[in-house]
Amino acid sequence: MSGYFILAILTLAFVVTFQIAKASEYVSVLKGEEKAFRQNNRINAFLFIVFLVLGLIGAWWCNELFYEKTLLVQPAASDHGEKIDFMLWITLAVTGLVFFITQILLFWFAYKYQYSEKRQVFFFPHNNKLELIWTVVPAIFLTVLVGFGLFYWFKITGDAPKDSQVVEITGKQFNWMMRYPGKDNVLGRKNYRLTDASNGNALGVDWEDEASHDDIEATEMHLVVGKPVQLVINAQDVIHDVGLVHFRLKMDAVPGIPTTLWFTPKYTTAQMKEITGNKDFVYEISCDQMCGSGHYSMRGVIVVETQAEYDAWMASKKPQYAVVKEAAQPESKP
């Protein structure tokens, strides 16, 4: 019912607008087009200044409302994230300055140079000096931004430290699976044709490879605070993306092409709860590449903890090889 009501109101609004528009056209013809033109011109010029002022106020107000809800108020939870945040602030400062200058000039000019019978326009087809200035100045600013950007880019994408903890993360519609290399710190070989989720081999690990026998599988990722970690990223079906918003990082998971990503977590989950003042805080892994109808629900969790807590968690886990063997045992006995 309310739907029809809204539709009726909309139609009415349309009709009224149309009638006013039609009437104002007749009025302008009666008044003389020249006079109507000048009146409209003044109104629109004034509206540009109104738009500029309200727009600036609106931008400030929007900032008041939402700034606290962004990550700008939280420290980045990884060393790489700190670099990215710094880069973000530099870029914000440079572009912010340009934004305000150009927008104010645009709307101010529109208002100031509105039509007037008396004004003689300034015939100004070109000026090499001016054009050179606004070619060179942006080029210099951009060189600075590119310089900073690439300096950090190579740091972030450079090789992981030798002593990094290795964790494999595999995406499939619509969840994440983790694998730890175990005591030997080597992940066992995989072959996707061996994938058999119903028999405990959801990742397609090749049990023939002895390195796989101490690999531990989990649904949650546990990391040690302050210790570099290298993620080995896989996907089984379609492209996913490991989005680590608090660490400010992400990397695609591509079927058939493993990718990597490394960083050092700076705060434990418990510390982040304090920093953010949110007792429910949790590091989340979001899928950031469209992967199908459940894309929005493809969530993973990372627990960053102290070495002792991590060791205790690890000790509670059994290698997947052992789990599979045990499951197979009772069948072979009788």
């Binding site: 939402f66 942006p138 994408t157």
Partner: protein
Amino acid sequence: MSSEAIKHGHAVAEVHSHDAHDSHGHDHHHEESFLTKYIFSTDHKMIGKQFLITGIIWAIIGGLFSVLFRLQLGYPEMSFPFLEDLFGKWAAGGRISNDFYYALVTMHGTILVFFVLTAGLSGTFANILIPLQVGARDMASGFLNMLSYWFFFLASVVMFASLFIQTGPASGGWTIYPPLSALGQASEGSKLGMDFWLISMALFIVSSLLGGLNYISTILNLRTKGMSMTRLPLTIWAIFFTAVLGVLSFPVLLSGAVLLLFDRNLGTSFYLSDIVVKGEILPNEGGSAILFQHLFWFLGHPEVYIILLPAMGMVSEILSVNSRKPIFGYLAMVGSLFAICILAFLVWAHHMFVTGLNPFLGAFFVLLTLLIAVPSAIKVFNWLTTIWRGNIRFTPAMLFAIGFVSLFISGGLTGIFLGNSTLDIHLHDTYFVVAHFHIVMGVASFFGMFAGVYHWFPKMYGRYLNNTMAYIHFWVTLVGSYLIFWPMHYSGLAGMPRRYTDWSNWQSFNQFADMNRFISTVAMVVFAVQLLFVFNFFYSIFKGRKVKSQNPWGANTLEWTTPINPGHGNWPGDIPEVHRWAYDYGKDGREFIPQTEAVGEHESKH
């Protein structure tokens, strides 16, 4: 009238004006049936109108889709029974299903990027403006031009049909990355809908190539006497570079689409390797999913300039005409268009910084991407200088042109964030990206298109659009666009991922429910006002105030030397000769000096 006769008429016009006159006179007596005049027309003006009206119809559909999915995003807990009445199982219980949501998003993107802003924008204005502004009787090949529209129409039919398939249209996002788009098991939209999408796009590319080749050859070969390249209006330069971009990059998308069709239907493995989908182990090995992204973005990035350049050209023209002042830095404007055109081909991988791309390679793409900011900055400063000390008339076209500059600045600056790979790691596929490309490519180009429609409507139909409705349209759209997309930067800076139907299960992204409701509400208002424009458009074709003077805006370019309602062939007599550039406004105390006027003896030089 055959294209032969047009060319003949043109060629002769320069030498024997008498013959040209005759050839045109013949045209007038030629009886045109409804079919040849309105349907299978070879007149560039009619083809332009066909592109425009088809584009408008698509824009309504694409816009409506965005309103529907904004309902889901803005009011996730509410149910709208009318949706179930309309869409049945896709909106069971009055709530948009996930599959439906993704289908809507995908179709919204596809329709607006390709069918509205490529065909509807550059197809329309390239057709209407090229012959009129370079001084030609028609396109180089009127017949190919007609085919160009009809291939677009066919593409439209196929895409439209895909909306009614049982498993729905394509739903993997407008970028249709495989393997998601290659595997029917992975998503409903990757079943039959995806084949329709690919076939439609192949037809669309044919249309775009036929059009583009025609635009290029017309601009290069059919300019009237005296119309040297450096005397061309900036609209034509922009359309020229657009056509070059399209001709060189669309075929690459075609190859990408054809390979995807093979992978889908013939068992090849171009994009597929090591895949286990829903427990099923696929035999494909050795393909690369990333290959598709390279092929896609090799068109996909130039595509944003294919959309934006014609808007830039029209805005340059309109700002100059309505400031009553020459465009500032004509050669710099042409040079920056050229630079953008070249760079557009060299930056595609900036969409792929987080795909595992070699970081060293990525560095070059960062450099080249941020380099685009230089010609863009030149354009912005030149536009600002153009209106500086002008005498501005706020026609509806001028309002939209100024709005375009504002939006181009806002959206262009956020590109500096995303083009820098370091920041892209954080901001990639968040709402920051959504805000960026909607402002700079979506809304800004729409503003350019609206500016063009308001400015050249009198030439197209011999009538004016209603001013009051135009003003309402402009102000609501400008304010609304900023209200919709400005706050999205904040959710982007919170890392909120795009293409989520619902964030309520997330600790990190659930704080923006109010913002989403606000955005959805504004989006509906803005959409309603676009319908007002559509109404104004169709009403004014038949009932608008009649144009009484040949040159209503006091402009210099050639289209305003034709009769108010030009016939096929454009000029009843000789094609006028050109003696100067298009921007002698406010020179030597004269308000404007048309291009056809000979340079006076005492005229000042510039």
